[in-house]
């Protein structure tokens, strides 16, 4: 097991993402990889960890050699794929393969049809509604003086905003967490048959719910993203609209993808407010300065990326960063490592809102698969930061920093809970 005195050579020889110490303090491991073995084979998870910023760029520039589709579909419901698909066909309204987890040229069409729901201009129009949701939640907590920033703030806020944006009913809030677990369990995690059956049942429930909503919006469009997707159109003729199967898969993906990632970003926001008093002071002094707030959000995403890694699979033998990868190599793009690379971001652990290359972080991925919801995510974080800073002050961690626990997942770096204290601004 790694310890504080472990040398970089030992970390490379013995370290793995699954090591609990590496999991809790991964940056030393990232630094050792970047220096000694930038494309590092982690045998405990049978994946290649890509640690350098430039190598990640190379992958993102070539979505054919480095496929999303191949890795995703090989992983899905591993071991039980046929049974899983049959259950969804029989009891879940259909089996809807994830249209966005695909490669060009198919991906290009689907992505284009999704984009109109997410333009920066569209998101700007949503700002007042997002602010109302943030304020409603702060109303509930401001007199308490303490909260768990994860369970009392980040998670409920994210779910409120998702329901609001997609046009879903607030009463599904209890179900979203179960649905998220069921959907994400189909990729990159081991589940036994009993778990697969339980998850399939949840996904059936989820699909019936969203299919019902989509039928309503087909007949009666409203100002929400489900309406945008079921009525999306680019050009004319075949392929100019989404098929119903594609649209179901996209609504499902938005409901799940926008949930945990954004909640993690909002938890990280409170963590920074509670641990970086100089940053908090700057925000308090300039809370009405939209440009400063935008830079704050970007630097927050760089320094604490919610998604620390995502995967690709090679479709042919290829050399990357001096390492020859075989066809079918499963890669993890270590965004958290790339964002921490001192050659790209000098003094990477300094929270510096004046960085010239502040938007070069890879927290939203890059290339054709760059996060489609990035403008919405930025807006949610900015509005949450602004209202927290306006209405509350003196944020402090209520536990020792070293006692913060993280969920046991490879893809995200998510705090389990974050108890903090604060005061109301008079």
């Amino acid at each position: 097991m790694a310890s504080a005195t472990t040398t970089e050579e030992q970390l490379i020889a013995e370290g793995t993402l699954l090591d609990p110490v590496v999991h809790k303090h991964p940056r030393q491991f990232y630094a050792a990889m970047r220096k000694l073995d930038p494309v590092h084979y982690d045998k405990s998870i049978d994946m290649w960890l890509v640690s350098r910023w430039e190598d990640i760029q190379e992958i993102q520039r070539d979505p054919i050699t480095y496929s999303v589709n191949k890795g995703y579909h090989e992983q899905q419901a591993k071991g039980f794929a046929a049974e899983f698909q049959q259950i969804l066909r029989e009891k879940g309204g259909g089996y809807f393969p994830d249209a966005i987890m695909s490669d060009p040229p198919y991906h290009t069409r689907v992505r284009k049809l999704m984009e109109n729901a997410f333009t920066a201009h569209r998101v700007k129009e949503l700002e007042p509604r997002i602010e109302a949701e943030v304020n409603g939640l702060i109303d509930e907590i401001e007199d308490r003086g303490e909260m768990d920033a994860v369970k009392d703030f980040a998670q409920p806020l994210t779910i409120r905003i998702i329901c609001e944006q997609l046009g879903l009913d607030w009463d599904i809030k209890e179900k979203i967490a179960r649905w998220s677990i069921a959907v994400t369990a189909q990729i990159g995690r081991m589940q036994d048959r009993a778990e697969m059956l339980e998850h399939a049942e949840q996904i059936c429930d989820l699909q019936h719910y969203i299919i019902g909503k989509m039928r309503e919006r087909q007949a009666d469009p409203r100002e929400d993203m489900i309406s945008d997707l079921v009525h999306a159109k680019e050009g004319d003729g075949e392929g100019s609209v989404l098929t119903f199967e594609e649209a179901v898969s996209l609504v499902r993906a938005l409901l799940i993808a926008g949930n945990e990632t954004t909640a993690t970003a909002l938890s990280n926001l409170v963590y920074i407010l509670a641990t970086q008093p100089d940053v908090l002071k700057k925000l308090q002094d300039s809370v009405d300065d939209d440009k400063l707030m935008n830079r704050f959000v970007e630097e927050l995403l760089r320094i604490e990326p919610p998604v620390r890694a995502l995967s690709r699979m090679t479709t042919k033998e290829v050399e990357l960063g001096g390492t020859v990868l075989p066809e079918g190599a499963h890669l993890l793009l270590m965004y958290a490592s790339a964002n921490d690379e001192p050659e790209v971001f000098p003094e990477p652990r300094e929270f510096d809102m004046e960085r010239k290359n502040i938007i070069k972080h890879v927290s939203f991925g890059g290339g054709v698969h760059k996060c489609v919801g990035l403008a919405l995510a930025r807006m949610e974080i900015k509005v949450a930061a602004r209202q927290l800073v306006r209405r509350l002050k003196n944020f402090r961690l209520a536990i020792a920093e070293d006692d913060i626990a993280f969920l046991p997942t490879v893809a995200t770096r998510t705090m389990e809970s974050l108890p903090v204290t604060f005061e109301k601004v008079a």
Binding site: H121, D290, G366, G367, K370
Partner: protein
Amino acid sequence: MSGIAVTLTQQDGTVVGIDDAQQSESLMEAARRAGVAGIVAECGGVCSCATCHVYVAEDWIGKVGEPDEVEDEMLDMVDHIRRPTSRLSCQIRLSDELDGLEAEVAPDL
């Protein structure tokens, strides 16, 4: 065929002339079709990434116009290379009025 003519100067000094740009497209889309180096357009053209940044020629900025608030906020992220003539090319909708437009591709960060 008749089209809108635009000229883009890459960072390496190469001048790329495009003569078949269409009314329906943005300057970014025309530049991507012509393979202009430095126009990455990573976000796909939704004003969210600043990788299609150009400096519009002085003579043309009046016709092209100023960035709106959303674009202005995005351009602020690249403040140190921003000029008064900076625009995100995905937000420049081509038209007959812009026939002959000239612009320079902004440097990488």
